[in-house]
Point group: C2
């Protein structure tokens, strides 16, 4: 009889969701699994292997005895070995695991050198960062990277199902976005001359927004989703020099439309991940952050309030007057809010997600639309409890003269002349926003360090791979 090749995912799926006929069939079949040994303990008469083939978060329990064929080989399987297993499924509804596999035969596919660093014990995240290529084999990182994949797809699903066009904006560019200068330069390895390859100096992009706007003024609803780069030596848990950004841009949308889409997108992503990764989300809630699911459910059920920057300043000033102590108690209109101020607003004042809107123009980017007061711009930052800013967006300055004057004052008109064309040729009201994908992933998993949600994190002085 030919053995049935099957995966962990298929096994759990049939046992927990299959109908009686499927289950019966499974119990009768000889099955074959290929995967890796997480742990192996043999007490002499009976042995247990925690087995995982990567297709599902939970391990499968394998059981063997002294009478199992190739017992000596099986008993010697080391943590980390790649193995092939043949056996039969036995339902164990009385146990924690709904089923186990009675091993009938097994084969070692790939052995493990003695210095394997992932032995059976708890390892610190700091230690695991040093072996980024092996840490996905641990529970936490297997959960993180599956959720990363699912969340990426959720982003695409959200925008594609609403008719948005995905635009691959370029990584190598001649402009540095908002002009902050903290960019990486690019030259060929063979010639270090910055003019050699492209005829002019180039750098890695810090944002796809400027390049995606012309597509919004053609396709109406567009988004870009790809890597961006910052050459900042910020050694914090939230900064990386390479990360992925989601940047939608919507023609004929004002700031209010923009906030509707941000709210819908965040809610969609949370619900999508919870639906697709229940085992992983339960794990995060148990092991990483006991308030995670409660916090996410609260967001999904919130209407996202809106508050002007000016109101927020007044509230913060009143809080200080009433005796609240911030690290920085010097609250004034025109200041850049710090994380502690943002968290006070979202956690204490609103107790839920809140958009701050209409920021002083001096502290926001040149492309944001000036409001009629002449002092503020139509920006919106989404603040959420425990994190602060999660998404930043704005209505864009569509008025040619106003935008050009702003760009002239920054000295960027010449290098971004093509960008101004979007206001010369059939320009219109439009808005957009940016989601730091890695930070959204941190928010949804409860992970506290950006280095622990990126497959191979790139931060200052850290690039082993």
């Amino acid at each position: 009889m030919k053995r049935q090749q099957i995966t962990d995912f298929e096994l759990f799926d049939i046992v927990t969701c299959g109908d009686e006929e499927e289950k019966q069939l499974l119990l009768e079949e000889e099955i074959e699994l290929q995967g890796w040994v997480r742990t192996n303990r043999d007490n002499g008469s009976i042995g247990f292997i925690e087995f995982n083939d990567g297709t599902y978060f939970k391990n499968v329990q394998l059981v063997y005895t002294v009478d199992t064929k190739n017992h000596d080989v099986i008993s010697a399987f080391k943590t980390g070995s790649a193995v092939k297993i043949q056996g039969k499924v036995v339902l164990t509804p009385e146990n924690k695991q709904p089923f186990e596999i009675r091993v009938e035969d097994a084969e070692l596919l790939g052995d493990v050198f003695e210095d394997y660093p992932l032995q059976k014990k708890r390892h610190s995240f700091e230690f695991l960062r040093e072996i980024a290529h092996l840490r996905p084999r641990t529970n936490t990182f297997m959960a993180v990277f599956r959720v990363r994949s699912v969340l990426s797809f959720a982003i695409h699903e959200f925008f594609q199902s609403r008719g948005f066009i995905y635009v691959h904006t370029p990584e190598i560019t001649t402009n540095d976005g908002e002009g902050a200068g903290q960019v990486f330069d690019v030259t060929t390895h063979t010639s270090k001359d910055p003019f050699e390859f492209y005829g002019r100096p180039v750098n890695l992009t810090v944002t796809g927004q400027l390049h995606v706007e012309p597509f919004a003024l053609t396709f109406r609803d567009v988004y870009t989703f790809g890597p961006v780069f910052r050459a900042e030596h910020s050694n914090t848990v939230r900064h990386a020099s390479e990360f992925w950004m989601v940047e939608p841009e919507i023609a004929f949308a004002d700031l209010s439309d923009n906030m509707d889409i941000i709210r819908d997108c965040i809610k969609f992503c949370i619900e999508y991940v919870e639906e697709a990764c229940p085992a992983e989300m339960e794990f995060f809630n148990n092991m990483i952050d006991k308030t995670l699911l409660e916090r996410l459910h609260h967001v999904v059920n919130s209407d996202f309030k809106r508050m002007t920057y000016t109101e927020a300043i007044e509230i913060l000033q009143k809080a200080v007057k009433d005796g609240h102590k911030f690290e920085n108690n010097d609250i004034f209109w025109g200041m850049d809010l710090q994380s502690e101020h943002e968290r006070y607003i979202t956690e204490v004042v609103v107790n839920g997600p809140v958009f701050l809107i209409d920021y002083p123009k001096e502290i926001k980017a040149f492309y944001m639309r000036e409001n009629d007061d002449g002092k503020t711009v139509a920006a919106c930052d989404l603040l959420v409890p425990q994190v602060g800013e999660l998404v930043g967006g704005s209505q864009r300055e569509e008025r040619y003269e106003k935008l050009k004057a702003k760009m002239d004052s920054l000295g960027i008109t010449e290098s971004l002349d093509w960008y101004l064309d979007t206001r010369r040729y059939g320009g219109c009201k439009h808005s957009g926003f940016g989601i730091g994908f890695d930070r959204l992933l941190m928010y949804i998993t409860g992970m506290q360090n950006i280095r622990d949600v990126q497959p191979f994190p790139r931060t200052s002085n850290n690039i082993k791979y």
Copy 2:
């Protein structure tokens, strides 16, 4: 009565696919559209506007008369203007267009400067490349970039629905993949010192494969899909310095399994795009390549044949002997096949897609698995008519000693020591492949130049934006 905001896509969808009730409702409603004028001609008593809001490939025809409110404003709408239209839908089943809009009022949202380069005439692709930010407004590029978006999603859909985990492999790295040296170096703008930011010299990645393999040895089925870079001065229609690659990696898969997945993936992508973009594909078939749809259907209906490199060499040698003239007639075992040879095999010999397998090890990458003959490796290149190579893949060398010896001989063992860990710790049979996404898009659209399928192409001496 509140006017119904609607898009081009929704209009075409209701008129061509809606039921009678939906159609009736649409005909009774006052509708409002926002979008751009493609052309506007007013013959005095009646005027016609070709209108497009970016949500659908086909234009909507707007009709106005001297009696239409704001006639003078409407009549003066220039090509490229952003406008708001109010009116009513009229079905015109006897015309080429199944409906038109009788304009009742309209408003200019964004005017067009006199020097607008996209006037009503046919522009060459060469000219349009100089205005990459405006060319999506032409029929060809509106079709190309919508298909690019849909094809991207098809890739994700194919792999996610099969349980593959999407891995964001890094862009900045310390290794140069296959060691060809044609890489871009990265330094901070403020300090040109290559050691300043990361503590060691770094470059842009040429492949995600080496970084994705450790994830396959955890999750079993994984893929990466992101930008890669080559600092080659190749000034051809198929080379760009920045492009997107799809790189799946599958544990426990041999070369034959690998080819099954490649075949299924290519067929899925073609069928997905045809289903999602019928208007665009019809346009490409009419305007770009009259054999396009026939060629694609032929691929979808083909079993993908398999032929060894050695057989191919024998066939080519026989062809030369029988009088066939190649540019390069010097056919010998061990040579790297050129495009003309590949096309002869796929077009003349097979007349359909064909995998060439088991290439001489000297002309293939170090990580490919050596066959038992000691001379060839388990590589597979998918050749298709009119293009030649479309996909390249291989079974990977999982045997530690063999791989280490190969890497020692290339002097890359030290810098890629972490990669060797995947063979030290529970290594197993695995395979993978790479699809140049931009070339696949060229293949599916019939577009002949890679510069015409990338939003902002990056090639030697070409980086205006």
